[in-house]
C-alpha cells in the first residue's frame, strides 16, 4: 500500500488541494460548533447517552468504514476478483456478532470503555488495568495503520509523490484530528461520522449507479465485460488470484478471516458507541441499522471493483489497486466526480482517525489513570483534563510511529490490530456476559495471554522478518509460519479465561452476575451507582 502513483491527470486539472482545505476548515468549524456545552466526562466521552438509534447507527456505520474499505477493497476486487471479495465479508458479518451477542449486555453494563462493561461484574481494578492496556494496544495499532493508509491513499489524490510528502501529509492530518477531538469530544466526532456516512453512501452509491447504467442495468453484462477487460480473464471470478493453494496459504486465509470477523466485533471505538444511546433496545436498533448499511455498502463496493476492471481494464489500474475507485470516477464523471470522490476520501480518513483517537484517549484516562493509578479517587474535571492530554499524547505517538513503519503494508497492520482485539478483548467480553463462573483472575489470564500471544506471534511471523517485503527485510526470525496470529491466539485466550477462572483461588461472584443478568434481560438501570 506504499505506492505513490499519482493519478493520471493530476497535473492540477482538478482542485484537490482546495477541496482538502475546505474539508479541513469545515471539520474545525464543526468541532467548535458542536463542542460539549457542559464540561463533564459523560458529555465528552458519550454525549450524555442522548443519541437516537438512527444517529448512532449512522455514526457506527461511519466509524466502521475506513478509507481502506472505500479505496483498498474495490482495488483488490478489480485486480484479484473473487479473492478480493473475501476481504469484504468478514467486517460485514462482524456487525451481526455485535448485534446478537454484545450490543445489549454491553449497553447495560458499559459506561465509557470495554473495561467498564466487564468491571460491573468482576473486581474492577485488575480488569480496568488489563483491558485498558489491551484497548490501548489494539487502538494504537489500528490508528497507526489508518495513518499509514491515509498517507498512501491521500497522497496520489493531492498529486504528492515520495515518502517525504507522504509523511508531511500524515503529520498534518494527525495534528488536525488531535485538535478536532480535543475541542469537540464525542459529540463532534459523532457529527463528523454522520456527515461522513451520508457523503460516503451518496458518493459511492452514485458511482455504482453510473457503472450499472453503463452496462444497461445488467450485472451479468458487467461481469462479462470485467472478465474480458481483465488480464486474468475468466480466472477473475474464481478463487486463487490472491491466496496460495498450499496449506500455509489456506491456514493464513482462515486465520485472517477469523481475526477479521471476531476482531471487528471487539474494536474499542465501535463498542464505545453502544454507550452513547439511552436504552439497550436503542443500542440494538443502531447496530441493526449499521449492519444493514454495511451490507448495502458491500454490494456497492463489489460493483465499483468489477466496474473499474470492466471500464478501465486491469492493465490501467496500478498495483495494489488503491486508485481504482478514483480512476473509475474520473472515467465516468470527469474532474467533477473525481473531486467529489476525493472529498469523500478525506472525510472518511478524518472521521475514522478521530473516532479511534477518542476511544484510545478515553481508555487511557478512564481505565489507566482514573481506575488503575488513582483507584477511582479523582474528580471528573481531572479525568477530563487527562483525557484531553491523552488525545495529544496518543495522537503524537501514533503519528511518530507511523513514520517508521511507512513501508509496511497497512492492511497487514489492520489485520494485526483485529487479531489483538479479538484475542485480548472478545473472550473476556463473552465470558463476562454469558458465564456466571467467570472471575477477574480468568479475565486477567485471558486478556494478558491473548495480548502477549498475538503480539508475540506477530513478531515471529513472516510479516516482520525473513522476506524482502517484511518490516525488517534483512533479519530472519520468522519462526511462526502465518502472517496473522489469530488462529492460535484467539482459542488460546478463550482457554486461558476458562483455566484462570476454574484454577485460580478466587471464587466467582454469582450474586453480582445474577443481578446483572436481571438488569440486562429487563433493560433496567442499576439504582445504586456502579464502580
Amino acid at each position: 500500500m506504499n505506492s505513490t502513483h499519482a493519478l493520471t491527470s493530476s497535473e492540477q486539472p482538478y482542485p484537490a488541494f482546495a477541496i482538502f482545505v475546505v474539508c479541513v476548515v469545515c471539520a474545525l468549524l464543526l468541532s467548535v460548533w458542536f463542542s460539549p456545552h457542559r464540561d463533564t466526562t459523560e458529555d465528552f466521552f458519550i454525549n450524555n447517552r442522548r443519541l437516537t438509534a438512527a444517529q448512532s447507527g449512522l455514526a457506527m456505520f461511519g466509524e466502521y468504514i475506513s478509507a481502506a474499505a472505500l479505496l483498498g477493497v474495490p482495488g483488490l476486487i478489480a485486480l484479484s476478483g473473487y479473492d478480493g471479495l473475501l476481504y469484504l465479508l468478514g467486517p460485514i458479518i462482524a456487525l451481526t456478532i455485535i448485534l446478537f451477542l454484545i450490543a445489549e449486555p454491553f449497553h447495560t453494563s458499559g459506561r465509557f470503555t470495554i473495561a467498564d462493561a466487564v468491571a460491573r461484574r468482576l473486581r474492577p481494578r485488575p480488569v480496568h488495568t488489563a483491558l485498558g492496556i489491551s484497548t490501548l494496544a489494539a487502538s494504537m495499532l489500528y490508528l497507526i495503520a489508518q495513518l499509514v493508509g491515509a498517507g498512501a491513499l491521500a497522497a496520489p489524490i493531492l498529486g504528492l509523490a515520495g515518502p517525504a510528502a507522504q509523511r508531511a501529509l500524515v503529520a498534518s492530518l494527525g495534528i488536525l484530528m488531535i485538535l478536532y477531538v480535543v475541542i469537540g469530544g464525542m459529540k463532534a466526532a459523532t457529527v463528523m461520522q454522520c456527515i461522513k456516512a451520508v457523503v460516503l453512501l451518496a458518493g459511492s452509491g452514485l458511482l455504482a449507479i453510473l457503472v450499472l447504467a453503463e452496462f444497461g442495468w445488467n450485472p451479468g453484462a458487467l461481469l462479462t465485460a470485467a472478465t474480458r477487460m481483465s488480464s486474468a480473464g475468466d480466472a477473475l471470478l474464481r478463487p486463487g488470484l490472491l491466496f496460495n493453494d498450499d496449506l500455509t496459504g489456506q491456514l493464513d486465509v482462515f486465520s485472517l478471516q477469523l481475526a477479521f470477523v471476531l476482531g471487528a466485533a471487539s474494536l474499542p471505538h465501535l463498542l464505545t458507541r453502544l454507550c452513547a444511546v439511552p436504552t439497550a433496545r436503542t443500542a440494538r436498533s443502531s447496530v441493526r441499522g449499521a449492519a444493514v448499511l454495511t451490507s448495502v455498502f458491500g454490494l456497492i463496493v463489489v460493483v465499483l471493483g468489477f466496474g473499474a476492471t470492466a471500464i478501465l481494464g486491469s492493465d490501467a489500474i496500478p498495483h495494489p489497486g488503491n486508485t481504482a475507485t478514483l480512476l473509475l470516477a474520473e472515467a465516468l464523471g470527469g474532474p467533477l466526480l473525481l473531486a467529489m470522490l476525493a472529498f469523500v476520501v478525506f472525510a472518511t480518513i478524518l472521521a475514522v482517525v478521530s473516532g479511534v483517537m477518542l476511544a484510545a484517549a478515553t481508555s487511557l484516562a478512564h481505565d489507566i489513570y482514573r481506575s488503575t493509578i488513582k483507584a477511582g479517587r479523582t474528580s471528573d474535571k481531572r479525568e477530563l483534563f487527562v483525557a484531553r492530554s491523552a488525545v495529544v499524547l496518543i495522537g503524537g505517538t501514533a503519528i511518530t510511529m507511523s513514520m517508521y513503519v511507512q513501508n509496511i503494508n497497512a492492511s497487514l497492520l489492520i489485520g494485526l490490530s483485529f487479531a489483538v482485539a479479538a484475542s485480548a478483548n472478545l473472550p473476556t467480553l463473552l465470558f463476562t456476559f454469558y458465564w456466571k463462573g467467570f472471575t477477574a483472575t480468568g479475565a486477567a489470564w485471558s486478556v494478558y495471554g491473548g495480548l502477549i500471544s498475538s503480539l508475540g506471534l506477530a513478531v515471529f511471523s513472516p510479516a516482520v522478518s525473513g522476506n524482502p517485503r517484511a518490516l525488517l527485510p534483512t533479519a530472519n526470525f520468522a519462526y511462526f509460519p502465518l502472517q496473522n496470529p489469530g488462529l492460535v491466539s484467539i482459542p488460546l485466550s478463550f482457554l486461558l479465561g476458562w483455566l484462570g477462572s476454574t484454577l485460580g483461588r478466587e471464587r466467582a461472584d454469582e450474586i453480582s452476575y445474577a443481578e446483572w443478568e436481571v438488569r440486562t434481560l429487563t433493560d433496567t438501570k442499576a439504582t445504586r451507582p456502579g464502580h
Partner: protein, 120 residues
Amino acid sequence: MTMAGAPPSPPREPVETYAYEQIRATGEYRQLRRRRRSVSFTATAVILTVYLGNVLLANEARDLMSSTVAGHTTVGLALGLAVCMAVPLAAWWYQRRLATDLDPLADQLAAALKYLRGHR
C-alpha cells in the same frame, strides 16, 4: 498472577437483592432467559457457519467455486453475494423474534422489578 485475599464486595442494599431474587424465581424470567439465549446463540451459530463455511469452500473446493451458474457468474461469486445478503436477513429475523416474543415479556418483568424496588 495471584489475587490477594477476598474481594471487597460492595455493600448490597437488602431491598435490591430481594427484588432481584424475586424476579429470578419467576417462571417468566427463566423462560425469558432461556429463549433469549437460544435466539442469540442460534443466530450467531448460523451466521458464523455460513461465513466460515464460505471461507472453507473458497479454500478447499476451488473447482466447485469456479464452476459457473449463469453467464460468467461463478458459484463462488454467487455464494459471496449470498453471504452479504444474509446479514440484513439475519438482522431482520432476530429483531422480529425479539420484538414479537421476548420484548413484551421483558417489559412485564421490568415493571415487576420496578414495583418491587419501590416497595420499601
